[in-house]
């Protein structure tokens, strides 16, 4: 089975999408077959604009209209990666985005089944790593993705209040779904000591990524691990990839 990693956070704007794109690109750059899916149907990610276009949307998978292999597009040529690099985008059209909020539980149950099927299809197609860029907080779009994943990486900004909220999600979502979870602290400042280590749940912190102004600007226009592999941000991502390799091997 393809190793499936859900990138989640309790609150929005913690850097999930930036991390997901760069981690996926890092894997593809070292020759892994990767698939990056934007499953944040309520707030589609900007990588629609960053990477080459595709014909169909991740929404089509959930609606049962297309299988995952008809939806994803291999962008390895354009991005210059050694390994295959498939991406699937969620539809940013406002009608599609609004529509997600009115889906009932029956639709959501089916969506989970279809996402499980997509994971099997990706494995059968020879994909090594599936990265799910989820929405923030606890709702169907994020929890369905977490349920499908083998590993959950929770990207959070440092802060004691965040830690308490995160414990709720860890104890009420990640643990009951039996997931291996890791924390990435993002946008850290030197004077703010690591405090997300989750004493109660003892979740390992995989890395602390500093807050870098140029990352905030450049992440919207380029994939840093590919355009500048020696950048401090890129190095962190490659380090995280190596740690994950050790954990999952």
């Amino acid at each position: 089975m393809a190793l499936t990693i859900a990138i989640h956070s309790y609150k929005g704007g913690s850097g999930k999408t930036s991390f997901a794109i760069n981690l996926a690109s890092a894997y593809a750059s070292v020759g892994k077959s990767v698939c990056l899916l934007d499953v944040d149907l309520k707030a589609p990610s900007s990588f629609n604009y960053l990477l080459p276009e595709a014909k169909h949307w991740v929404n089509d998978i959930f609606e049962g209209r297309y299988g995952v292999m008809d939806v994803v597009k291999d962008v390895s040529k354009e991005m210059g990666t050694k390994g295959a690099f498939y991406v699937g985008y969620s539809n940013p059209d406002i009608v599609a985005v609004r529509g997600i909020s009115s889906k009932d539980r029956k639709w959501q149950s089916k969506a989970l089944k279809l996402l499980m099927t997509a994971k099997r299809d990706l494995s059968n197609a020879g994909i090594d790593i599936v990265i799910l860029d989820t929405g923030a907080g606890v709702d169907f779009t994020s929890v369905n993705a977490i349920a499908v994943a083998d590993y959950v990486i929770s990207v959070g900004r440092p802060g004691a209040s965040r830690q308490r909220l995160m414990e709720q999600v860890i104890g009420g979502v990640y643990m009951p779904l039996d997931k291996d979870c890791y924390i990435i602290e993002n946008m850290c400042h030197n004077d703010n000591p690591t405090d997300l280590s989750g004493k109660k749940f003892d979740l390992p912190v995989l890395a602390s990524i500093p807050c870098m102004c140029d990352v905030a600007v450049r992440c919207d226009n380029e994939v840093l691990v590919l355009t500048e592999p020696d950048h401090a941000f890129s190095k962190k991502i490659y380090d995280i990839m190596e740690s994950l390799d050790k954990i999952t091997s």
Binding site: R105, K106, Q108, S109, K110, T117, L177
Partner: protein
């Protein structure tokens, strides 16, 4: 004068009745939902509220798509009889569907009762 005020009073009463009817209709449709068995659909939030043993079984079934009690027991490392018991419990709750194909019985996540 009196005519006017009694007309106003009538309109006020009609509005009140109309509001009450709306509320009854909304309540009625909410009740209908549970009658139709929509609550039996096993979505991921419901999955989270299940007791540990049933959640493990249901999650494995989501992953396998469709499976016999044997296949599921292999996945969860439990006794077949135990797993079969859990599966049938989930069937009674309306979360899981049971289908016979030849001599084998296959379980799968249900589509919910009704509708």
């Amino acid at each position: 004068m009196t005519d006017n005020s009694s007309t106003e009073e009538m309109i006020r009463l009609l509005r009140e009745i109309s509001g009450k009817l709306d509320r009854i209709l909304i309540q009625g449709s909410a009740d209908n939902e549970s009658d139709d068995g929509i609550l039996d659909v096993l979505d991921v939030m419901t999955l989270l509220t299940l007791p540990d043993h049933l959640r493990t079984t249901a999650t494995a079934l989501f992953e396998l798509g469709s499976a016999t009690a044997d296949e599921l027991a292999e996945r969860t490392n439990k006794e077949r009889a135990v797993e079969s018991n859990y599966l049938n419990q989930l069937v009674r709750m309306g979360h899981v569907a049971k289908n016979r194909k030849g001599r084998k019985v296959y379980f799968s996540i249900g589509e919910g009762l009704g509708k």
